[in-house]
Amino acid sequence: MTRLLRGEVAKLFATRLPLWSLVTAALCGGGLTGLLSLIGPENATPPLPGLGAAEGVGIVVGMSGLLLFVPALIGTIAVTGEYRHRTIGTTFLAAPRRGRVLAAKLIVFGGLGVGYGVVSSLFAGLAVAAGAAVQGVELGVPLADLVALLARIALAAAVYMVLGVAIGALARHQLLAVGIVLGYFYFLEHVLMIIPGVNVIHPFLPGGATAALTDFTFLGDAIAEQLPMAAASTTSPLVGALVLLGYAVVAAWLAIAIPLRRDLR
């Protein structure tokens, strides 16, 4: 297994993917949060709570959670690239026990996902601090709370990357896999969130669990304001984290178990 991990790490670092992932993480983490911090959430239309309030900080930092499909996409593109460039054959020749290959891949990308999350959260934290400094307001949350929130978003990023790898390993076709990831996070989950009756399962969908983990209910609340219905509820951050990890475990297990019997063509 050590050999497989070393092989997957060597493969990963033979491309520029790690570098670009971290650059993307910095942009995604710092970008949206930074922009909103500088404008000042209270200047948005409709006005949002400012950075001086805990709620305002939560919304601004939580914005980086809206870009969690990015680490998922990185994982998906990386693993489907193995099929697209037909390197999966070379890989399975070197390591015929496919389950272990995919387990190693999931572990390595889990690691990259942690790196992504840490960089993304670091830049989001810096961005919100810079925004507050520019506006001359004190951040509405103690530093420890901010760090804890950022750490939870970082964890979510790592889980999303593992989810992305698993979806890629199952779908194999690059465009199909990217379509599944984007289609789900951009469309399907939001649809499920607003259908009355169905939206009771929302807390247990990946997006709902993420919202619980990151205390980010902005979208659900905004939808609830527009529609005559109660906001889709969320669970506690801990339950959200467990639900999200559960998805990662199930997806990883499927990704390890299903490709075992498939023929390569």
Binding site: T15, G89, F92, A94, A95, P96, R97, D263
Partner: protein, 279 residues
């Protein structure tokens, strides 16, 4: 079936030109009664042959005859419905050191265009559990040392084939399996490959090379296995095949068309001498 693998030490092991191929544990390839259905098609119905150590075995048949499917099953990339395909007496997946036993040059085994050749070889060296020094050694063997730091995306087909062969040699294997390796190689490349495979076999290595072009194989092989519509129709030493009294082309067509007496259509009966038979 029990295969005894014999440790043989070649007297030629220190020969300069093939430095890097060590004396090897031999690995015979044995395929027996192999069958596989893909969808509605019986891709492989009854394939049986042996590729022996120290010999280059040509695996010849028209397109769609089942060559690639057979090789994929042999290499554990696809599953058979019945029959066995063994290397040194074991299935590929059961080999303790797969890439150290068999090297494969397959259409299916590609390289990532964003990687340099060195990055690619390092990664698969680590994955196969081989010594990192093998990267330089296989690059030397396949004549691609000066290309090591170029990205694979810019490689010609010929360079890709060399990289594929270099990857196959990382584990210093006892057997080489090559699926249509001459595709995309220029004439000089084909001669180089033929010489390389002969030297590999001379050291006790097993070579199994597939092609749909008869003339491509006839100068470089010791044994011939013919496959047509999923069945092996002939196998044995090339000498015995050519001693049948007919020309190679006629014998090939007779054995792959399955109709011995009926006249062969003119289009395929007069094959282009330089291209060989393309079915």
């Amino acid at each position: 079936m029990i295969i005894l693998t014999v440790r043989t030490f070649s007297l030629l092991s220190n020969e300069y030109a093939t430095e890097g191929i060590r004396s090897m544990i031999t690995a015979q390839i044995e395929v027996s009664g192999l069958a596989k259905r893909i969808g509605d098609v019986e891709a492989v119905r009854d394939v049986t042959f042996v590729a022996a150590p120290g010999r280059v075995t040509g695996f010849l048949g028209p397109n769609g005859a089942g060559k690639s499917t057979t090789l994929r099953i042999l290499l554990g990339l696809a599953r058979s419905d019945s029959g066995t395909a063994l290397i040194g007496g074991r299935r590929y997946a059961e080999l303790p050191d797969p890439t150290g036993t068999v090297g494969a040059v397959l259409d299916l085994a590609g390289a990532h265009p964003a990687m340099t050749a060195r990055g690619h070889l390092r990664a698969y060296c680590a994955l196969g559990g081989h010594d990192a020094g093998r990267v330089e050694a296989v690059a030397e063997l396949t004549g691609m040392s000066e290309y090591l730091d170029r990205r694979v995306g810019g490689f010609s087909t010929g360079m890709r084939q060399r990289l594929s062969l270099a990857t196959a040699l990382l584990g210093d294997p006892a057997a080489l399996v090559l699926d249509e390796p001459s595709n995309g190689l220029d004439p000089a490349g084909i001669v180089w490959l033929r010489t390389f495979l002969r030297e590999f076999a001379a050291k006790g290595g097993t070579v199994l090379i597939s092609s749909h072009v008869l003339t491509e194989l006839q100068h470089g092989i010791d044994d011939l296995v013919l496959i047509d519509r999923g069945r092996t129709t002939w196998s044995g030493p090339l000498d015995a095949f050519t001693a049948r009294g007919t020309s190679l082309e006629e014998a090939f067509l007779e054995l792959t068309s399955g109709v011995e007496s009926s006249p062969v259509p003119t289009a395929t009966a007069t094959p282009n001498a330089t291209e060989g038979i393309r079915a």
